[in-house]
Each structure stands twice: as structure tokens, then as C-alpha cells.
Symmetry: C2
DNA sequence: AGGTGTATAGTCCATGTGGACTAATCGACT
DNA sequence: AGTCGATTAGTCCACATGGACTATACACCT
């Protein structure tokens, strides 16, 4: 029996996270994602967005809440996230935040990590830190072994880069963990009610 | 009029590059890619591999060179790369090595950069270096601006990471360019005939 | 008044992907 | 001798993606 969370694509999760900020129609989500440059992480195209929302509806994670029409333009169907949808966000983020395979999933989970409690996020990132260190060591060992066996460096350019990138991610993660664990680092819904997001939504809705 | 090179997927290009080492059947390619851990870059599944090879054949980039059968096992269809296929590898790598969008395409291009002349590879990587620096600056500016506008840091975790990663890639690229431009760095087909690859192929063919 | 361009909101379809499945062979255990 | 599991080589299909397309409305020229 496949869980609905297993079928969640990165864009599917971003949609659920957006709807947590308020009801929206798909086109507004497209605009908002582009405005926030979240299309750095996940490509956002019309076809995929509408298809994704339809899938989420079939899975019961979002629900239609109204259709309105502005002049003679196409109808706009507004959606709302369900309780199951909200739960799915937490479950998905918890699962992906610690994994080191699936880089894009991790970037989405990181962007939505604020949906978790601070302590939980830290725990998951520490697990990730360990897995990342293992992967880094394994790749470095393989690299050295290949060099030792006489494989010319020109064939190992990508391995070299991968190793450098893994090292950089480790360094960044250690730095982040230090910052995030410090009580001066704001966390949770106990801060100013995100005026910027409201302004963005207004701009996206216009 | 769409060029066949435009339709080349990362796996498609890896297949062409593999066939440059010698004729093979699809299953051997799967084994060889996994053995070399190239599935770090591109996911390798049965369905995708056979589909990809079929597409390459329709495009005239590879050609069937024989079907053999071992006992009562399924038939093995062996393929060979065509002249158009060899040309496509160069064209594709030249195009992708300089681009900063499309990260997976770049990793494949880097892994196959040895198909280019040293000077050409260096020129393309220098172009990439410039584009990467621009992207890094733009992202850092956006990050600072958001912070200045009062967006809490917990919402900017992914931007922070992206910025760190871009910086790390720039540093790595500068280092690589320095190493690669040095005459001590071996380049080109003028070295020992890759015994390791032959051994790997034997293992993959078994 | 007419033409050009772009934003809005969405549909549709050709490709590409990846997991499930088949069916035969081989090795290892018991 | 029998069975369990893994490997080999490949097919098949459900689903996801993204680009092309539609049709209306608004803005800017000239």
C-alpha cells in the first residue's frame, strides 16, 4: 500500500507549503514561486503545475474551495490545503531533510524546514551530517584508489569536483548547525507576521 | 528544425561516450556505468536505458551490429556508435561545459570533457567561470537585500546554502583551471592505453 | 483606429522516467 | 535432489514533465 507522501514530488510539496500561507489558485502559485526565485530549485512550468495540483486533489491533500471569474477571462479555481496535506508536509520534510541521496528533495526540505520544530530540524540535520561525512570519505577513498591505480586525472575531473562539493557542503552544514543551535537564531512562528510574504502575495495576486 | 543534439539526455550522452570505447549491448552499459559509479550523476534504470538506446538508434547516432544468444537466455543486441554519434558527443559537451544552469548536464560534460582538446576545454571552463561569478554575485545580492528587508534567517536557509555552494564551486573551478593549464597535467589520447578501462569492461562483460 | 506585444489562466500532448514484471541461468545451502 | 536467492537481459506500463497551443484582456505606439 503506497503512501500518498511517497508520491509527493518536490513541486507537489512546494504547492502544499504555499497553500499553508493561504488559499490560492494555481496561476498565483506559479507567479509567487517565480517571484521568490524558488524556480532555482524546482522548474516551474504551466503544464506541471496544473497536473501537480490535480494529483494533490486526487490524493486528498488539497481541496477546491471556489471558482471565480474576472470578466471574460478563464475561470480561476482556488484551492485550499487539507489536514492530510498539512500533515504530509511535515512527514515529507522530516524524511528528506536527513537523506543525502536526492539533492533536489533536500533543497526543498531545507527551504521548508521552518515547518518543523527547531530541535527536530537540528536532530535531522545532525543525522545528515553523519551520512554526508561517510559519503565524502567513501568518495575520497575511491578517488585516491583510482589515482593510485594510475587512472589519469583527466578522467577523474567530475569525481574531483564531487569530492570538493561534498567537502564544501559539510563545512557549510557544520557552520549552519552552530548558528542554528544558538538561541539568538530566531525560529518558530513566534516572530513578526511575515509582512514581506503578505506584500509578495498581494503583488502576485495583484 | 530540431537538432538531434538538442534531444540528447544526459544518459543518452553517456551511452554514446561508452560506445566510443567499443561496441556493447545495453545491459553491459548498465553494469559498466554502475561499476564506475557514474550513477552518482545520472540514475541508471533498465527501462530508461533500453528506451534511451532505442531513441539514439532512431536518431541515427548508434546502430545495431549484431544479435547473439547465450544458451536460452534473452537475446543480446550489440550496438555501435555512428560518425554522427561521435560528432554529437563533441557538440553536446562543448555546449554544456560552459552553461551554469542545468547542473547534471554540466557534471556529465565534465566527466566527458576528455573528448575535447585541452585548450578548448579550458576556454569553455573560463566562460563558465565568468557566468558562475555573475550568478554568485546576483544570489548574494538578493540574499543581503532580503536580510535587510527583515526576512528572518530561518526562511533563507536554502539561499544561504546555495550561495555557499556557488562560492565553493567557483573556488574549485579556479583551482582546476590552474592545475589543468599546467603542462604537467596529462591531456589527450597520448597516454597509456587505459588498461583499467579494459579490465573493467572485461569484468562487466564477464 | 489599427497593429503589436505581453500578461492572464489554463488545456493538451509528445517524450522521458522508473518501477514492476518475466523468464532463464547459476551458485549456495541443506 | 530440491529450493532459495541473486544475476542476466530485457519488456511493459503508469505516471511526471515541459513545451506548444488557445483565447481573452490590457498597454503601448503611430
Amino acid at each position: 500500500m503506497k503512501d500518498a507522501v511517497d508520491r509527493l514530488t518536490p513541486l507537489g510539496l512546494m504547492v502544499l507549503a504555499l497553500l499553508a500561507e493561504g488559499d490560492m489558485h494555481p496561476y498565483e502559485m506559479i507567479r509567487l514561486l517565480r517571484l521568490r526565485r524558488d524556480d532555482r530549485i524546482v522548474p516551474v512550468t504551466n503544464g506541471t503545475m496544473y497536473h501537480t495540483v490535480a494529483r494533490l486533489e486526487r490524493a486528498g491533500l488539497v481541496a477546491e474551495v471556489g471558482v471565480d471569474r474576472d470578466g471574460n477571462r478563464p475561470e480561476r479555481t482556488t484551492y485550499s490545503v487539507t489536514d492530510a496535506g498539512t500533515a504530509a508536509v511535515g512527514e515529507w520534510v522530516r524524511r528528506e531533510l536527513a537523506r543525502v541521496d536526492r539533492p533536489t528533495e533536500f533543497r526543498v526540505a531545507l527551504a521548508e524546514a521552518h515547518n518543523l520544530e527547531r530541535g527536530e530540524a537540528i536532530d535531522l540535520l545532525r543525522i545528515r551530517r553523519g551520512a554526508l561525512a561517510d559519503a565524502h570519505r567513501a568518495l575520497a577513498d575511491g578517488h585516491r584508489l583510482a589515482q593510485h591505480k594510475g587512472v589519469p586525472a583527466q578522467y577523474l575531473l567530475e569525481v574531483d569536483r564531487d569530492e570538493a562539493m561534498l567537502g564544501a557542503e559539510l563545512a557549510w552544514l557544520d557552520d549552519l548547525l552552530a548558528r542554528i543551535a544558538h538561541p539568538d537564531f530566531l525560529w518558530g512562528p513566534d516572530h513578526e507576521p511575515t509582512e514581506r510574504y503578505l506584500a509578495q502575495r498581494k503583488a502576485a495576486r495583484q
